[in-house]
């Protein structure tokens, strides 16, 4: 039993099932991020936790209390909306205390709670302003204040940062993380931004097509993606997934991949059980940062493979330089140091950290578990 249990929950509109048997258990103090492309059902799931959407089957429990059919205001939850949803006709102070007022809490207590929250979020000087007179970041703070003031069991965030500009988004991300560490609250957070998911969460549920594709810590999701969708969705730039063939070389399994000119190279697996796939096609997943020049190869890795391939495009990004090459007939991106001597059209010796490589079954698209 967790703190918040989503138990075999489905959602259908008429005959169409949009969310299939979701099963997630959240512990107290956890920061769960639901991440996925638009239309994957993540917001629907959040709204079901909030009580804004009905549950078609299954159960949602908070602190072991079944929440099916319980009114949103009786669930002891608070929600921060994408548009902040601040009441335009009320001042910031009134916005923050509206929920308390509706729950019949007397004014002196409301004012005290408001002061505390305002201090915590550093919005004391804004309390008498209307939301229309605030900047995006300030509105974001007020929206969080409105959620915090009620001291709820669970916080729900619905893409709260997507309306902010890039720099402010990074700042507020840190702010939210700080707040979580300070208050130790239980949070369910919806986003389509995989970087937000990685940086904020203690656990991530990657969703696609109404299914939870994988549930795990950020590190698990990143290093051991359950399938090709998770592998390519999480991480920027995305993981390179190229067709390869398994062969045996000196008794050890290798992945045979086509280079730019049609010749092949052998990349030895770290996972020896890949021998069972000898002679079969697989999809090989390699993260961009595991393809480097020889000098930058990970010294702690026991399995660095070498290959020489032609550089097609270089994209300097300041801290790194992204290099595109053709591997297995596909564009593959490598993340190099910015001072690596790479030029388009040149042949370049790459080092591939095969310890971090993963293999997928091309039929089921599932990761081949070592």
């Amino acid at each position: 039993m967790g703190f918040l249990d989503i138990d075999n929950t489905t959602k259908s509109y008429g005959a169409v099932e949009v969310l299939h048997k979701v099963d997630i258990s959240v512990e107290k103090g956890e920061f769960l991020v639901l991440v996925g492309p638009s239309g994957c059902g993540k917001s629907t799931l959040l709204n079901m936790i909030a009580g804004l959407e009905e549950i078609s089957s299954g159960e949602i429990r908070i602190k072991d209390q079944v929440m099916n059919g319980v009114h949103p205001s009786k669930r002891n939850i608070a929600m921060v909306f994408q548009s902040y949803a601040l009441y335009p006709n009320m001042t910031v102070g009134q916005n923050i205390t509206f929920g308390l007022e509706m729950h019949g809490i007397p004014k002196p207590e409301r004012d005290k709670a408001m002061k505390e929250v305002a201090e915590l979020l550093q919005i004391e000087q804004l309390l008498d302003r209307k939301p229309g007179a605030l900047s995006g970041g300030q509105r974001q703070r007020v929206a969080m204040g409105r959620a915090l003031v009620r001291d709820p069991d669970v916080f729900l965030f619905d893409e709260p940062l997507s309306n902010l500009d890039a720099k402010l988004r990074v700042d507020m991300r840190t702010e939210i993380k700080k707040l979580h560490q300070k208050l130790g609250t239980t949070i369910v957070y919806v986003t389509h931004d995989q970087i937000e998911a990685m940086t904020l969460s203690t656990r991530i549920a990657v969703m696609y097509g109404g299914y939870v594709q994988q549930l795990g810590t950020p590190q698990e999701i990143y290093d051991s993606p359950a399938n090709i969708f998770v592998a390519t969705f999480m991480g920027s730039p995305a993981m390179n997934v190229v067709p390869a063939k398994v062969a045996m070389d000196a008794g050890k399994p290798v992945a045979v991949v086509a280079l730019h000119d049609g010749t092949t190279t052998s990349l030895p697996f770290s996972q020896y059980n890949m021998a069972a796939w000898n002679g079969r096609d697989i999809m090989l997943g390699i993260r961009p940062e595991t393809i480097t020049d020889e000098d930058a190869a990970d010294r702690n890795s026991a399995n660095i493979a070498h290959m020489t391939n032609r550089i097609v495009v270089t994209e300097p990004a300041g801290s790194d330089t992204f290099v595109t090459m053709t591997l297995g007939g596909k564009d593959v991106i490598a993340r190099m140091r910015s001072d690596a001597d790479v030029r388009p059209g040149a042949d370049f010796p790459f080092a591939v950290n095969m310890e971090k490589a993963v293999a997928f079954d091309p039929e089921t698209e599932m990761r081949i578990v070592p």
């Binding site: 909030a50 009580g51 804004l52 009114h71 949103p72 205001s73 939850i77 608070a78 929600m79 909306f81 994408q82 548009s83 949803a85 009441y87 335009p88 006709n89 509206f98 929920g99 509706m102 729950h103 409105r146």
Partner: protein
């Protein structure tokens, strides 16, 4: 070359501009003419009108026609002036406008924020109310008012106007609330506000512009209505429009045109006032729903 063209451009600009203003001025005068005739003739003694010269300014200024139209002119059988009928109209218009506006706002709220199966069909049916000609409902409505015991009363007229107005007010508020962010309603739900609290505390405070549109529209229509007033009102609930007709149509004695003019202006004043006071919100309210959607 370039200097020459610029010069002509300015000159043609000046000429066409003068022309435009001239035409506009002419139109403005033309539209003001009826008001001018009414005002001028309402402050003349009767013999100045009957002696010809409707367009002339008064030689002897007098407010007697106004006083007479208001308090002592012959309306129907009694020399009461328009005063009691003016109050009849007020007693009818104020509740009718208030009720139909509030109901329209509630309808708009439900139709956009508490969607249910078949709500668009229901809204479509309500829109029909905007297109039903008045004459069609006269006889059924008379029967209904009779059955409800409201025949010949002010409240009967209020009911008729509310029923007729709901289609319009619902249309206004529905379209206005359709672009009102639903997330606000959801946030209020989570905050624990109920159906009417959300309406009262969240939606209504933001509904100023569209409420003004609804009020102006309803006020003008109900105040100016003649048909329902003539058909359903009793002797002591006749609205201003019917009384004005009776004043003008009165066949006894001399036709007192100056009193008629004064009476007509009196009858038109409230709608003018409402428009002057709230008019600047009118266009803003009409635009508010359409531009953003």
């Amino acid at each position: 070359m370039s200097v020459a063209t610029q010069d002509t451009a300015i000159r043609t600009g000046r000429v066409s501009r003068t022309l435009i203003y001239l035409v506009l001025l002419l139109f403005a005068l033309f539209y003001m003419l009826p008001l001018y005739v009414m005002v001028v003739n309402s402050v003349k003694p009767l013999d100045e009108i009957t002696g010809g010269g409707m367009m002339n300014l008064p030689q002897a200024f007098t407010l007697d026609p106004w006083a007479k139209a208001w308090s002592s002119a012959q309306i129907g059988v009694d020399p009461t002036g328009l005063k009691p009928y003016f109050w009849n109209s007020i007693k009818m218009v104020v509740p009718a406008v208030a009720i139909s506006t509030v109901l329209g706002a509630l309808n708009g709220y439900v139709l956009t924020k508490w969607r249910f199966r078949g709500d668009t069909i229901l809204f479509g049916l309500m829109l029909f109310a905007c297109f039903i000609p008045f004459q069609i409902v006269l006889i059924p409505m008379a029967r209904m008012l009779g059955l409800m015991g409201l025949a010949g009363t002010t409240w009967g007229l209020v009911l008729v106007h509310v029923v007729y107005g709901i289609g319009f007010t619902t249309l206004y508020f529905r379209n206005y609330y359709a672009v009102f962010p639903t997330e606000l309603v959801r946030a209020a739900q989570i905050d624990g506000a109920g159906f009417f609290q959300i309406f009262w505390r969240i939606l209504l405070p933001s509904s100023g512009p569209i409420a003004v549109v609804s009020i102006i529209w309803q006020f003008t229509n109900i105040w100016n209505d003649f048909l329902f007033g003539a058909s359903f009102a009793g002797a002591d609930s006749q609205p201003m429009t019917v009384a004005l007709n009776n004043l003008v149509q009165s066949s006894t004695g001399v036709k007192e045109y100056n009193v008629h003019f004064a009476g007509a202006i009196l009858a038109a004043l409230p709608t003018l006032l409402v428009y002057i006071v709230a008019g600047r919100y009118f266009v803003r309210g009409l635009m508010a729903g359409s531009v953003k959607g």
